[in-house]
Symmetry: C2
Subunit: 366 residues, 2 copies
């Protein structure tokens, strides 16, 4: 290994963790059935409930990344041949389709062009056309395009037999998300974006209605590792039945990141992301960058932007990393080769990040 | 949170990580597509090859615990309805059956009583009776009983169409394991036992023959997260196609743990585990503890032991933790309530651990 690289992480995630979350990584390791570890997990669940805005009992971190959280929800709630209605307007909507299909579900796609928001009316209409659908899934903050999809109107699904599943990987802790108020039945996120911890854990929460669906399954969850019923028994059940060797190292760090977030306050954190993201977006527009999402549906924590005058995105992105140690992401899918994705998330969502990036951009492109 | 607990971890894992592995956790986080991160992953793969004893190109850490490694191998190599022959003489053999069954495979069990070793002749006979079996799986070091299962004779499977899959979760870095010499086609382990890092990563290696099986699948791997083909493209493929947000935090730590192991040397590490485990086992026998595995098949790194005079195992185990901060594990399955499982693994495999534990046992039971 050469000397350690030190990055300002302004890509689509991971972001730079809060100092408290880094410090917590060094704490002595606890066994996965140690009473102190189980108490730590209970506190993490409480903190996650506060951040998700939920009273759901089944609220826990899956031992994997956000994609593991996605697969845990889909695998635990869908049985072979059941229908999943999925909103697709970017890479992570596509991934939801792929994971659901691999798991044996029938997928009904509801699409919008990349860079625009899904119309909740289209999603609700698809549910009326498929009233037996087990769930309807949407990505709240589409990390591939910087688009915010409107989730609140989908609360109407609570009056149907279809569960509402929301991908909050980039949304949670960055922009408004209210699991109980919006009647979300299943929601997953990731530790390394707006929650301000390193990658490795995927917070998940299930409503009582979703837990009923899980309990009423006639087919085993195909995945043992990602079976939310088994995870629930381990973390929350009275017997704490052994399931896997959960990592106190990652748990301590997530606990610390959530603590920092909640000390600041959920509304204040949302406001900080909005303010800092807005500042970046205004400055980019002035420099001739194109903002892919329109202003009504634009995320502050993740900005997808085309470069001025059709510049090839890769060389200046490499220079940002090599010369200044600043990471931004390249475009995905339809925007590959012609866009950047700039994250301002968690601890990195501050004015210093914006100024450092703009200064570097001005030196490279100015 | 109360003050941080500080444990001597002598249970079935996690063990106390090497100081170098703890220190590495605090390094600046790198993005999952950062060239420095990909170079780190390449070094980790090299180190894993040295520890596994293999030249396999597909050698990488799965972003999950040992159970994720198990499921990644089974899900990636088995298609619906294919046959898996599984050796069962403890809890983790049972888990192999459960994971394979959930995935849609037909399981052929080859059993031995808990606490005894599987007979390789029985396993090979089962393969002759099921020559179309896709794979035969065995746990090299059965963490539930402290029994070593003999893997080397199973190299004969290389002359058949059946792959040899070995669970090395507790074995790797603790006792002899030679992937290429023993013609193992798929092998998985975990970061938190004899490799001396915290939990969170599951090293996996596949032989070229296993990679061929993976490539020749006609059915998608049901799991996206644990699809070893996609992980291979991400970590090893020229394009490093994005799959998930792998954690540089955990990777740095595993890299450091493996470095420490390889600096000591694989043979020396095996000898250290043998020496320290033997010392513990001799001392336990003198105190009237019963060693569950017979001496020919007894692991040094994990000792399953009944207590003297039929003592209830739970109260002294709790006292070890509460009074001395020493963790040992309780019995699993057939040994629940009447055995301890004592790990001496990785950094914790030293004489000081043995003396501290024996001193505490003498105070509590003497």
């Amino acid at each position: 290994m050469t000397a350690h690289a030190d990055r300002l992480l302004l890509g689509p995630g991971p972001s730079n963790p809060y100092p408290e979350a880094v410090e917590a990584l060094g704490r002595p390791v606890l066994g996965h059935l140690d009473p102190d570890y189980l108490a730590l997990m209970a506190e993490i669940s409480d903190r996650l409930r506060a951040v998700f805005g939920t009273a759901n009992e089944l609220t826990l971190p899956v031992s994997g990344t956000g994609s593991a959280g996605m697969e845990a929800c889909l695998a635990s709630l869908l049985q072979t041949g059941e229908t999943a209605i999925i909103g697709v307007n970017g890479y992570f909507g596509e991934r939801l389709c792929e994971v659901a299909s691999r798991g044996g579900a029938q997928v009904v796609r509801v699409e919008a062009p990349w860079g625009t928001a899904l119309d909740p009316a289209d999603l609700l209409a698809a549910q009326r056309a498929n009233p037996g659908a087990r769930l309807l899934a949407v990505v709240a903050a589409e990390t591939s395009t910087g688009v915010r999809n409107d989730v609140a109107p989908l609360a109407a699904l609570a009056d149907t037999d279809t569960l509402l599943l929301v991908d909050a990987v980039t949304a949670l802790g960055g922009t408004e998300l209210r699991v109980d108020d919006w009647k979300i039945d299943a929601c997953y996120s990731a530790s390394q974006k707006c929650l301000g911890a390193p990658p490795g854990l995927a917070p998940v929460t299930l409503s009582p209605r979703a837990v009923e669906v899980l309990r009423a399954r006639t087919e085993s969850v195909r995945s043992f590792y990602l079976d939310l019923g088994l995870l629930h028994e381990y973390y929350v059940g009275a017997s704490h039945r052994y399931h896997h060797t959960a990592s106190s190292t990652m748990a301590y760090s997530l606990h610390a990141g959530l603590g920092r977030l909640l000390d600041e306050g959920r509304d204040a954190v949302w406001a900080r992301h909005a303010s800092v993201g807005g500042k970046l977006q205004d400055a980019l527009a002035k420099r001739g960058f194109g903002l892919i999402a329109d202003s009504a549906n634009r995320l502050p924590q993740l900005t997808a932007t085309t470069l001025p005058e059709g510049l090839d995105e890769a060389p200046p992105r490499r220079a940002l990393l090599q010369r200044y140690g600043i990471e931004v992401g390249g475009g995905l899918g339809e925007f590959a080769g012609r866009a950047w994705r700039i994250g301002l998330m968690g601890h990195a969502a501050n004015e210093r990040s914006v100024l450092a990036l703009l200064g570097a951009v001005d030196e490279l492109l100015g």
